[in-house]
Amino acid sequence: MRELRYAEALREALQEEMRRDPAVLVFGEDVAAYGGVFKVTRDLLAEFGPARVRDTPIAEQAICGLAIGAAMMGLRPVAEIMYVDFLPLCLDQLVNQASVLPWIWNGRVRLPFVLRTQGGVGAGAAAQHSKSLEAWVAHVPGLKVVMPATPADAKGLLTAAIRDPDPVVFIEHKALYNTRGPVPEGEHLVPIGPAAVRRPGRDVTLVASSRMVLEALRAAELLAAEGIEAEVIDLRTLRPLDVGTLVASVRRTHRAVVVNEGWRFAGFGAELAATIAEEAFAWLDAPVQRLGAADRPIPYAEPMERASIPDAARIAAAARSCLG
């Protein structure tokens, strides 16, 4: 299979869906003429024109409101919020309008839009451009939250998100845009919801999403050299959560390390650990290990930045501690 970069896979999904469905629009800051600061929307303006590919002002509430209103009227907007750190600027639109209206209006409207954004550490972008805020939106009923880890999933999940009838917050990772991997040509759909077992193993389950999947896979390599077989689960979708895959794995391995790049306290890992405790307590041979970002703003200086989030070595150490 041909290989693409994660950013190219995303662009291909946008391009194919815009060709397939004239209701798909793309808008956001710097997405049209410049092609997006991470070049995910490169050349879309040339192919689809200024009515369907639009630069917006630096106005996140308006961007999100545009998506909601246009979706309510039957379009399929894909809006870009340049950094997940800017998501708080439009949280009212997401949390008080998008997530609320379809259900509160008794299913009388649908909001089929995608809010693309990206987060995470990786570019020395400092405290206001490096966070992982997925837990903020995964908390909210009515929203779907998707975080692809591979180029193939980037294409397949974005395609599924565009065709989905519900609001989808699609969180990419800045340090994944240049990663390469096989990506199917033509229509490629990865359903929203199901997790993927990226590496089977019988001794411990490592649960991760987005770039932390890559760290978990590296940790599994380190552990394999010591004779420990780790199973790596890539959640792919955080809400709705694939509890079945998660719990089945932990019931087999009897140990779990949950890894999230966001802050540990009240973070998404807490939801995973609680779910495992509820659904697999009797199968556990050790307490669930929970890794997340240090409870500090993400610092600029490189050694501090690197120390602030989990990595393969720390994941492997947590796995060893489960195995006693």
Partner: protein, 331 residues
């Protein structure tokens, strides 16, 4: 549409204004009797804005409303039975009792919709208008906001984008004198909110919000402009909130003389006075009786209707689970 309402239109506007006033009075009574849940935001005194504006729109146009929207709902044509039932949280309500009075919506008549967050629907209105523009549909969104909402950041973002992209939006400020308890003068750097239109490359004008003809004319003109793809407008309709910010209002912050002066300028009494020579007393009494009976029927039916059962909380979270039930308006 002509910018001047005909006699038939005025007659219907009068009936609707009376209906809204009676609705607000009845809701006040029910609240005092402990038969409503939560605060209700009455629009007594502001009826000419909501009714006059919606009368100047077409059925396929949209309205985004506010927490104080009963005149918008009635004016846009939400059937009264389901509207009153929704306000009272009944299963027979427009939204099955899930929404309550602040969040009423009805895609069938283009009310999309109410909002309890001040200014919350303004960015959404811009998105709705974008869909009309992209598809080349001659439809307009009338986005209601208060003078309080005019101070929030979302209003600036929405108005700037609408002006920039020349979107078919009529921003209609119901300047009712207060944001909750704080008077406009203590909330806004400018007294005349309509002048802000200049900053968004759109025409702005101030009208007497207690004059239903003036509101109708201004909205008809702005809607026609939007339909001609000439972009948005800002209208400031000066009116006054005769009751509290909600039924929870404890009072104590209003100037009694100012209130009395505005009561003397009641928009319903004013229109009645204007229609009297044209229609005669008996016709007006008949109209008022008609409105009262319609409201009484709706109230009686709503009060007799059950609330939605607790089990409906298990209704699917997502449209993807709900199958083909949800319909998106205008699609």
């Amino acid at each position: 549409m002509l910018n001047r309402p005909g006699l038939g239109e005025l007659r219907e506007m009068y009936r609707r204004m009376v209906l809204v006033r009676r609705l607000e009075e009845e809701l006040g009574r029910l609240h005092r009797e402990g038969r409503t849940r939560g605060p209700i935001h009455r629009c007594d005194g502001q009826e000419a804005v909501g009714i006059g504006a919606t009368a100047a729109l077409e059925r396929e146009d949209l309205v985004t409303s506010t927490h104080r929207g009963h005149a918008h709902h009635v004016g846009k044509g939400v059937p009264l039975g389901p509207l009153v039932a929704e306000i009272l949280g009944r299963a027979t309500g427009s939204c099955g009792g899930r929404a309550g009075h602040m969040l009423v919506a009805d895609p069938e008549v283009g009310l999309l919709g109410g909002c309890g967050i001040v200014g919350g629907m303004l960015p959404v209105a811009v998105g709705q208008a974008l869909a009309f523009q992209v598809r080349g549909e001659p439809r307009v969104v009338c986005a209601f906001l208060g003078d309080g909402a005019a101070q929030i950041g979302a209003a600036h973002e929405a108005m700037n984008l609408a002006g920039l992209w020349r979107l078919p939006v009529v921003f209609l400020i119901e300047a009712n004198g207060f944001g909750l308890t704080v008077p406009t003068a203590a909330q806004s750097a400018v007294n005349e909110l309509a002048i802000r239109a200049a900053g968004y490359a759109m025409p702005g004008r101030t009208v007497d919000g207690n004059d239903v003809r003036a509101v109708f004319a201004a909205v008809a003109e702005a809607a026609a402009r939007a339909r001609r793809a000439e972009g948005p407008s800002l209208i400031e309709a000066r009116t006054f909130r005769l009751e509290g910010f909600s039924t929870s209002d404890l009072g104590g912050y209003r100037d009694p003389a100012e209130l009395a002066a505005w009561r003397a300028r009641d928009p319903i009494a004013r229109l009645r006075g204007e229609l009297l020579p044209e229609l005669g007393e008996s016709a007006l009494l008949a109209l008022e009786g008609e409105a009262e009976r319609e409201l009484a029927r709706a109230l009686e039916a709503a009060l007799a209707a059950p609330p939605p059962p607790a089990e409906t909380l298990a209704a699917p979270e997502y449209a993807s689970e709900a199958g083909a039930r949800g319909e998106t308006a205008g699609a």
